[in-house]
C-alpha cells in the first residue's frame, strides 16, 4: 500500500510548484501567448518565425508600447506534440494571455483551436502552414491565420509548375506525412493536371525520415519534369544531393514552407544539374521593396540576424496584425474584444507581401499572393522571376 511518507513527499513537490506558477498575474502588460517548436524537428521554421515576431514587438515596446502598455510574449516550446500544445495553450490562457499566436506543425492546430474555443481566447496561426478552417464561408470562431492555407499553397503550386516548365508533361509532389502536407500535395496534383500536366503523382514519407536515398531513387525512376517539394528546413539539405546522385535532372519547385534562401543555396550547390525554383507568400533577403522591408532589415541587422528569411517576414507581419488589433481593441482589452477587433483587420504588407492582410467576420484569412523565385547558379543568388500568382480565399 502507499506509505504515508512517500505520499507526503509527492504533495510537497506539487506544493513547491504553485507559487512559481501564479506570480505573473500582477504585471500590467498585454500578455500574448506564443507556441513554438524550438527543439523539435521543425525548429528551423517556427523558431525563426518567433524571432521575426519578437523583432516587431521589441520595436513596438521601444516606441512606448500600445496605449502606454508594453506587450509581453510568453513562449512555450511544444515541439510537434498536440497534447503539449493544448495544455500549454490552456496554461498561457489561465496566466492572463489574451491571445495565442504562432503554433507549430499542422497536426497540433486542431487541439489548440478546440481548447481555446472553450475559453474564448483568439488564436492567430503563423507562417507557413495554416489549416482551411479559417477560410470563408464559415471560418472557425476566434481562429485567424497569416501563413499559407495548405489548399491554396497546393493549387498555386500547380500554376507555378506550369510557369517553370511550359511544356512539361509529368508532375510529382513529395511531402512529409502531416495533415497540412498531404492536403497541399493533393491540391497541387489537381492544379497541375488542370494546368495541362498529363501525369501527376504524390509521394509521402514519414515525418522522421532523414535518409532520402531510396526515396530519391523512386522519384528519379519516375523522372517527373517538375518536382514540387513541400519540406521543412533540414530535409532540403539532405534531399537535393540524394536526388542529384540518383540521376534526376528535371526542375525542382520548392514550396516556401521551410527552406529559406540560405539553405536553398547550400542544397542547390550540392545538387549540380538541377534547375531550382521556389515560391513564397512573403519576400525574404531584401528581395522586395517597401517601408516594412527596410524596417525588418534594419531591426534584423541590429539584432545580429545574418539573413532575413521568409519566416522572419511572416513573424513580423503577425506582430503587425496583433499590434494593430490591440490598438483598435475596445479598452479594457480582453480576449473577446480583441477577437472583435481582429475580425475586421486591414493592414498593408508594406512590401513584405503584395496583397494586404484582410480579416473579416466571414473570412479569417483574406486574399494572398505568391511570388516565384529562381536560383541563379552563376550569381549564387535566389532571384525573383517577377511572376506573381494572386489567390483569393474562396476555394475553387
Amino acid at each position: 500500500m502507499i506509505s504515508t511518507r512517500r505520499f507526503a513527499a509527492a504533495a510537497v513537490l506539487i506544493g513547491a510548484a504553485i507559487p512559481a506558477m501564479t506570480c505573473a498575474r500582477a504585471a500590467e502588460p498585454y500578455r500574448i501567448g506564443y507556441l513554438v517548436d524550438a527543439s523539435g524537428p521543425m525548429q528551423g521554421i517556427f523558431k525563426t518565425g518567433l524571432d521575426g515576431f519578437k523583432l516587431y514587438m521589441d520595436q513596438v515596446n521601444a516606441a512606448g508600447g500600445i496605449h502606454g502598455r508594453p506587450v509581453a510574449i510568453d513562449v512555450r516550446d511544444v515541439q510537434i506534440d498536440p497534447g503539449k500544445s493544448a495544455s500549454s495553450a490552456q496554461e498561457l490562457a489561465s496566466n492572463g494571455a489574451i491571445a495565442i499566436a504562432g503554433l507549430s506543425l499542422s497536426s497540433t492546430h486542431m487541439p489548440v483551436y478546440n481548447a481555446m474555443a472553450r475559453l474564448k481566447v483568439p488564436v492567430i496561426t503563423g507562417f507557413p502552414v495554416n489549416l482551411s478552417v479559417i477560410l470563408p464561408p464559415k471560418p472557425k470562431a476566434g481562429v485567424y491565420g497569416v501563413g499559407a492555407v495548405v489548399e491554396i499553397l497546393g493549387s498555386v503550386a500547380g500554376k507555378m509548375a506550369r510557369q517553370t516548365s511550359p511544356e512539361g508533361k509529368r508532375f510529382a509532389c513529395t511531402v512529409f506525412e502531416s495533415p497540412g502536407g498531404i492536403i497541399a500535395c493533393d491540391h497541387a496534383v489537381a492544379a497541375a493536371k488542370a494546368a495541362g500536366f498529363s501525369s501527376a503523382e504524390k509521394i509521402l514519407f514519414p515525418v522522421t525520415q532523414r535518409d532520402f536515398r531510396p526515396i530519391a531513387e523512386k522519384i528519379a525512376q519516375s523522372n517527373p519534369d517538375v518536382l514540387l517539394t513541400i519540406f521543412g528546413r533540414g530535409r532540403t539539405l539532405t534531399f537535393f544531393p540524394a536526388i542529384a546522385e540518383a540521376g534526376y535532372r528535371g526542375k525542382i519547385l520548392s514550396a516556401e514552407t521551410g527552406t529559406g534562401d540560405d539553405e536553398l543555396r547550400e542544397a542547390a550547390k550540392a545538387a549540380p544539374g538541377i534547375d531550382i525554383y521556389s515560391y513564397s507568400r512573403y519576400v525574404s533577403g531584401g528581395q522586395g521593396e517597401g517601408p516594412q522591408v527596410e524596417a525588418l532589415e534594419k531591426a534584423a541587422h541590429q539584432a545580429g540576424i545574418p539573413e532575413v528569411l521568409a519566416f522572419h517576414s511572416g513573424g513580423w507581419i503577425m506582430g503587425a496584425v496583433i499590434a494593430d488589433a490591440l490598438t483598435r481593441c475596445e479598452q479594457p482589452c480582453d480576449p473577446v474584444r480583441l477577437d472583435a477587433a481582429l475580425a475586421n483587420t486591414r493592414i498593408d504588407g508594406g512590401g513584405l507581401t503584395r496583397e494586404p492582410i484582410v480579416f473579416t467576420p466571414t473570412d479569417h484569412f483574406g486574399p494572398s499572393s505568391y511570388e516565384l523565385y529562381h536560383y541563379d547558379r552563376a550569381r549564387d543568388q535566389v532571384v525573383s522571376t517577377g511572376h506573381v500568382e494572386k489567390a483569393s480565399s474562396q476555394l475553387q
Partner: protein, 287 residues
C-alpha cells in the same frame, strides 16, 4: 535495380550490421537488450559535426573525440547495468538502457536543440560499374564494414574473444576458470559503444545529423533478432535482409510503409520462431 540503389542498400546494410553486431555482443554477454546505442550514435555525430564545423578540428580528430565521449558513456552504462542493476536481473537492465536512451536524447535536445546539419566525410564521386556514386557513401560503407569485421575477428579469433564467448556461455564457470568477468563485460560494452558510434556517424553522414537518427536503433534490434540475437553471423544476415526489404518497399511500394517492414517481419518471426533464423535456441520458456 540500378547500381546506385544497390549501393544505397549495401550502405544501409553495413550501418545496420555494425549496430546489430553491438546489440548481439551485449545480449550474449549479459542477456540485456540495448536500446540506447542509436542515441549514443546521434550524440557522437552531433559532437563530431560541432567539433569539425565550428571548432574547426580535422575530421579524424573530431571523430576520435566523439568516440572517446561515447566510450565514457558506455563505461557509465556498464556500471549502471552490470553492477548496480545486477541484483535486479537482466530484464531491468534492458529497461535501464531505455532510460539511458531517453536521457541521451534529452541532453542532445538541450545542447543542440534539434538542429539538422549535414556532415560529409568525403567529397566528390567515384565511378562504380560506370555509374557515378558519391565517395561519401563508399567511405561510410567501408568504415562500418571494417568495424564489424574487426569485432568479428576479435570475438572469434583472439584470446579476449574466447573469454568473451566463455562469459557469454556461463559467467559462473568463467569465474571458476579465473576469468575476470566484470573486466570482460567492460570490454564488451566498450566494443558495443564504439560500434554504435561508428554506425551513428555513418548513418548521419549518409542522411543528416538529426535527432531523428535514433530511429535506426529499433531497426538494429530487429536485425539482431532476425539473426537470432545470439549469433554474430546472424546479425549480419539480418541486417542485409532488413536493408533490402526496407528499401525495396520504399522504391516499389510506398515510402510511408518503410518503417513497417522491419516491424512486420519481426512480428511474424516472433510468432513462428521466437529464437530467430540462426543461432542456438534461446532459453525461451514454452508457455
Amino acid at each position: 535495380m540500378n547500381v546506385s540503389l544497390l549501393v544505397s542498400i549495401l550502405a544501409s546494410a553495413s550501418v545496420y550490421a555494425a549496430l546489430a553486431t553491438a546489440v548481439v555482443l551485449v545480449y550474449r554477454a549479459n542477456r540485456v537488450l540495448v536500446f540506447h546505442l542509436a542515441e549514443l550514435g546521434v550524440l557522437a555525430s552531433y559532437l563530431m559535426v560541432t567539433l569539425s564545423g565550428e571548432a574547426g578540428w580535422s575530421l579524424p580528430a573530431s571523430f576520435l573525440a566523439a568516440l572517446a565521449v561515447a566510450l565514457a558513456v558506455s563505461v557509465l552504462v556498464h556500471v549502471l547495468v552490470d553492477h548496480w542493476g545486477r541484483p535486479f536481473g537482466h530484464f531491468v537492465g534492458t529497461v535501464l538502457t531505455i532510460a539511458v536512451g531517453g536521457i541521451l536524447m534529452g541532453l542532445i535536445g538541450m545542447i543542440w536543440s534539434g538542429r539538422t546539419v549535414r556532415m560529409i566525410l568525403a567529397e566528390g564521386r567515384t565511378d562504380v560499374f560506370g555509374e557515378p556514386i558519391s565517395t561519401n557513401t563508399l567511405v561510410v560503407m567501408g568504415l562500418c564494414c571494417l568495424a564489424t569485421v574487426a569485432v568479428h575477428l576479435v570475438v572469434n579469433r583472439s584470446r579476449l574473444g574466447i573469454s568473451m564467448r566463455a562469459v557469454a556461455n556461463s559467467a559462473s564457470l568463467a569465474r571458476h576458470r579465473g576469468i575476470q568477468v566484470s573486466r570482460v563485460l567492460l570490454v564488451v560494452w566498450l566494443l558495443s559503444g564504439a560500434l554504435g558510434t561508428i554506425a551513428g556517424i555513418g548513418m548521419a553522414s549518409l542522411s543528416a545529423v538529426a535527432m531523428e537518427g535514433a530511429v535506426i536503433g529499433v531497426s538494429a534490434i530487429v536485425a539482431a533478432i532476425l539473426g537470432g540475437l545470439t549469433s554474430l553471423g546472424g546479425a549480419i544476415i539480418g541486417s542485409i535482409l532488413l536493408a533490402f526489404g526496407e528499401q525495396m518497399v520504399i522504391v516499389y511500394v510506398d515510402p510511408r510503409y518503410s518503417q513497417v517492414v522491419p516491424i512486420l517481419v519481426l512480428f511474424t518471426i516472433l510468432v513462428i520462431r521466437p529464437s530467430g533464423l540462426s543461432g542456438r535456441t534461446e532459453s525461451v520458456v514454452r508457455v
